[in-house]
Symmetry: C2
Subunit: 267 residues, 2 copies
């Protein structure tokens, strides 16, 4: 497992604790994380050695030469189109697949990792054209072993859908927090009045900024389309409120209420 | 207590259980609720009798003649300007005060009521010009007795602030749900991928529609201003994403992240 932050280290912990692998090797950039992971027994072998592991491997091209033929390579990033294009550049003998475990926390890093992070989460698998069915099955086996639910989805379709249900909510939470902070400059008591509605609607604004910068940079067209779709709906509500068009407003709000009540979160 | 829905009945339950009053009387419109409240021992006396209680009292004007001089009358509505104007029409001898306990649930009605609903919640008190200091103190005593935290705030200021931290988040959640449902028409798998980010950001879209229609109708100018302020922030983020202006985008997202992380919810 390359990268021992929240996602990578949580995966190592599950693999170790459930004794799912002969050996779990973890590669981290920072020596402190290598030590942390080893002493926490999150891995069997931790390293930042460029020969044992792949120190400084910023691109998949750097790790390609180290991989044995037939090796399954799966990433755990939040967008899939760009990374699947990069995975396609791996040596022919390697078996690449895109992966996206759909769970997380606001806190990042090895310290935040825990066993069971993936339990009941949806874990998207995006095979490349060349990915063998046996490799997809192996990836699904890994996902199932940590109690997540594999969903095979083409990369572009994944990116289009998560733009609406993950990247857009983040931007809304961020803009909402900025709007409340703007009011708070003149009237700081707004922070005292804020309760459950603001708490939940704004929660993801506290997510890791760098992670979302990467996500937004690698999913720009789908994110812009999702913002524009949202804007049309908000503009419509705004106009109905302004015109006091209560029957039509009731219809829209009740439809959303019904859609939201019908949907049952998995986690 | 007039109205034995979530808020009124929860208040009765606290007053009864903590033995804070000599007698707790509840007035409900529906006979079933009268019976429910009585057999649940939420009140000492439950009624829909127009002489004992105030059946069909849609306006404060209807209850005015029944009130003894010096009686404290507090409402529990979510907006304060309009109701405080109505409270001002009560007979001179009555002591009116606006009230807004800032907590709730998506579920409404007597069935959803519970002891302890108000614990740690902020409870705004909006006195009228004529409200005596002793009446404000009595209202604050009641609020403190059910373990809520009284905050005295002028009605218009209350409405301006809650437009941003409560009414706006509701409209955002509703528009987000509508946008996701629109995508879901062509690709229902979006509901399967939706995880924690969507869950929390959209939660309040499932709130009681009628309650929010009333809120939006009685706080229109402040709600429209809050939407417009939010729109400016979202437009700015959209433009930065579109122009790939990463340093500036990082600055905005990091500022919201910091503001959201600094704020600690009370409940």
């Amino acid at each position: 497992v390359i990268g021992l932050g929240l996602m990578g280290a949580s995966l190592c912990m599950d693999l170790k604790q459930k004794q799912l692998c002969r050996e779990v090797r973890g590669v981290a950039r920072r020596t402190q994380t290598v030590l942390d992971a080893f002493f926490a027994e999150a891995v069997d072998l931790a390293t930042n050695d460029p020969h044992t592991g792949v120190l400084g491997a910023d691109t998949l091209g750097d790790i390609g030469p180290y991989l044995w033929p037939g090796t399954l390579v799966m990433d755990m990033g939040s967008t899939k189109t760009e990374i699947c294009a990069a995975l396609a550049q791996l040596p022919e003998a390697v078996q690449p697949i895109g992966g996206h475990p759909m769970c997380g926390k606001e806190t990042a890093g090895f310290e935040a990792a825990e066993c069971g992070l993936y339990r009941n989460a949806t874990w998207v698998l995006s095979p490349l054209a060349r990915t063998a069915p046996e490799s997809v099955a192996l990836a699904a086996e890994l996902v199932t072993a940590v109690e997540a639910r594999p969903v095979v989805l083409e990369a572009a379709r994944h990116d289009r859908l998560v733009a609406s249900i993950s990247h857009l909510p983040y931007l809304l939470a961020s803009a909402l927090t900025a709007a409340v902070a703007e009011v708070g400059v003149d009237d700081p008591q707004i922070w005292e009045l804020a309760a459950g509605g603001f708490r939940d609607t704004s929660r993801v604004a506290a997510s890791d900024t760098q992670m979302f910068l990467d996500i937004l940079a690698t999913n720009r067209p789908a994110v812009l389309a999702a913002i524009d779709r949202f804007d049309r709906h908000l503009d419509q509500l705004r106009s109905l409120v302004e015109r006091s068009a209560e029957p039509e407003l009731r219809q829209h709000l009740a439809a959303s209420r019904q859609a939201r009540s019908r949907w049952k979160p998995r986690q």
